[in-house]
Point group: C2
Chain length 179, copies 2
């Protein structure tokens, strides 16, 4: 039930077409709720049928023709209701931890290399987040209304910091002994 609300949020920030939404996802909301254009089109259809969004009248609807959507009052209300729900954190599902556990049983040739590869990926993601922070949230003055957005970004930064820290220690630990 998260994707439609992610889309409503993005459309409230700025009315957009499907493809435009897809691209905006890739560089903001998609960092913690990724989505493809197929899924977004599917969901836009559902949201329109539910009366939560509508096509801006300026653009004529035709195949291959740009369609810009905006949020209707009902959509905004649905989003507000969702925000104030109590919803438990999703269970963790991480294949790397699973593979380490399997390696404990059947052996681990090349596992340290894989950990190093993941470390590089997480470092790159961390660097990307830090760049965004520097660009969008300079220390001197951050608008009151951006407080929540900055906290979300901080979540991403802290999460990648956890990964780089844990992976570094894991690699050291594996190198420090056999295997």
């Amino acid at each position: 039930m998260s994707l439609p609300h992610a889309i409503l949020t993005a459309l409230l920030e700025k009315p957009s077409s499907g493809l435009e939404l897809t691209r905006r996802f890739d560089r903001s909301i998609g960092y913690f709720w990724p989505s493809t254009h197929q899924q977004i089109y599917r969901e836009l259809g559902k949201l329109e049928k539910a009366g939560h969004i509508r096509v801006l009248p300026t653009a004529q609807p035709a195949r291959g023709q740009r369609k810009e959507y905006e949020v209707l009052p009902a959509g905004r209300e649905a989003l507000m209701a969702w925000v104030s729900l109590a919803e438990d954190p999703r269970p963790v599902r991480d294949p790397l931890l699973l593979r380490m556990r399997a390696a404990a049983v059947v052996g681990a040739p090349g596992l340290a290399g894989e950990l190093r590869r993941h470390l590089a990926l997480h470092r790159a993601q961390l660097a990307e987040y830090l760049e965004i922070e520097e660009r969008d949230f300079p220390p001197e003055r951050t608008a009151e209304e951006d407080r929540l957005r900055r906290l979300v970004l901080r979540g991403g930064i802290d999460l990648e910091t956890f990964w780089t820290g844990w992976l570094t220690r894991a690699i050291d630990d594996l190198d420090g002994s056999g295997s």
Copy 2:
């Protein structure tokens, strides 16, 4: 493609029936790859058909009758192959971060309360992990072969530590100002 390998790992550690597997998942592998009995039965069926596991001949197969499975050589090989694959980390998908982002747009009544609720849940999970660490990996001597298992648990501990830290700071930040 992770669940079948999680099952193979668990069955290599100890041959089990479907329900027994489900219970063992709940207190070990399920911490980072949860699963229900329905999914596990479905997957056991596929694994058997693929020739990766088999029913132990001692138990006769009948509805409502216990069926114990063990891993065949082909299953072990499939697991080893999977462990040494290069597989990128899964994209993050977190509804709480999404809801904070939405709250930045439509307002956040009660969001701080929800953050406190999540903080309590993550603290409880962290405490559970620390208990397991104390029980299964006492500092004096940890067997060489348990190094990987301890690293996996450390991953869980560090992850929950990240959440509790971030949530604590987020709550402070929200309390320290309006909203």
